[in-house]
Symmetry: C2
Subunit: 237 residues, 2 copies
Amino acid sequence: MSTIRTIAFDGDDTLWHSESYFEATHAQFRALLAPHVAGEVIDRTLIETESRNLRLFGYGVKGYVLSMIETAIELTEGRIPAADIRTLLDFGKTMLDHPVELIDGVIGVLDALGDRYRLMVITKGDLFHQETKVARSGIAERFDRIEIVAEKDEATYRRILSRVSEAPDRFLMVGNSMRSDILPVLDLGGQAVHVPYRITWAHEEAAEPRHKPPGFYAIGDIAELPGLLALIDGAAA
Amino acid sequence: MSTIRTIAFDGDDTLWHSESYFEATHAQFRALLAPHVAGEVIDRTLIETESRNLRLFGYGVKGYVLSMIETAIELTEGRIPAADIRTLLDFGKTMLDHPVELIDGVIGVLDALGDRYRLMVITKGDLFHQETKVARSGIAERFDRIEIVAEKDEATYRRILSRVSEAPDRFLMVGNSMRSDILPVLDLGGQAVHVPYRITWAHEEAAEPRHKPPGFYAIGDIAELPGLLALIDGAAA
């Protein structure tokens, strides 16, 4: 195994909190519809609506708000008052306008790794909102490159590595989503470190590889990353 | 003036139709609200809402739909039925799902220029929808590179040119928006060809430069581009 040269971090729920805002909004959405529908029906229908709309909307807050509105109208058979739909619009604006809150330990990790590796962000979702978040994060200048992509699959990673002239076996991806951050990078011949977040969005769920393939690592906290890299690079040297 | 080496095309309303779908949807939106409000009030309020939301939503269909819903609730003082809001959601889905219709003459232009220049697309807006449009356009493989950006300002063009190692004076941008495609490229020392579309979105309006700066050209139809380039390159040779 070669020595790692480039480390890329996922953004949402790896460098900064994201899913927790969706979770909080979801609780407010449930409360708003509580007079009309049971909570489990709300949860199930919203996930179904989001899945159906993903093909047209892609990822991000704006599509989420449109799916909430669609779900609310469907579940109340059109009885939801316009004032409540206005409230859903405001939920979305609050999410989009929220300050970026870094995950504990991120700054220390970037301090520890910045001199020894080329650091990148590879984040998925709405281009405009992701750029806003990167700008507000205060850590943009720590990275050589920031890539915002619509989908994180093997082809996307291959294209990015080709653009930065990096070999897959010198590349390591760090992220919270097995489906988007880990599995496609391993398939490409790269290495990947899974750092789970407290919550995983239903659409990002994927099982851990049953037999740990070479290049797959899992840690419980991003602060453990520098220690893990010392081990990996020590073993490769 | 140096010989042109890289030509970049704007996407929406330069390579393919876009604003005409917004225009058609806007007419349907007006018709939907006609029982409640006068047409001029609808037009003015929607533009105001869009302008106010641009900072949070960025460009694209999803933000447009959210602004239509907000406008409809505001102008009817909450009296709009949920079924009509459901119709606005469907307008958005129809726009997102629409086949990509190339502007007349585009294929001939790409045929004429593909062997002699490095061709790119630099398009602004929703990442997911723009990628879908590029894929559906059938012309993606004609371009060396496709850049989807959140905002087209001088810094954006500078970053792209640096990534492709191109000098500004060897770069020419083709597009319908003075504000996004022409002025920032001229400011950077590049050349730019304005090809107006039938309709210009209010937010993209900007005056033509009063004294034509060097490197600024305007044609009425994209089919005139190969002829113009022959003149430009002839003059530079």
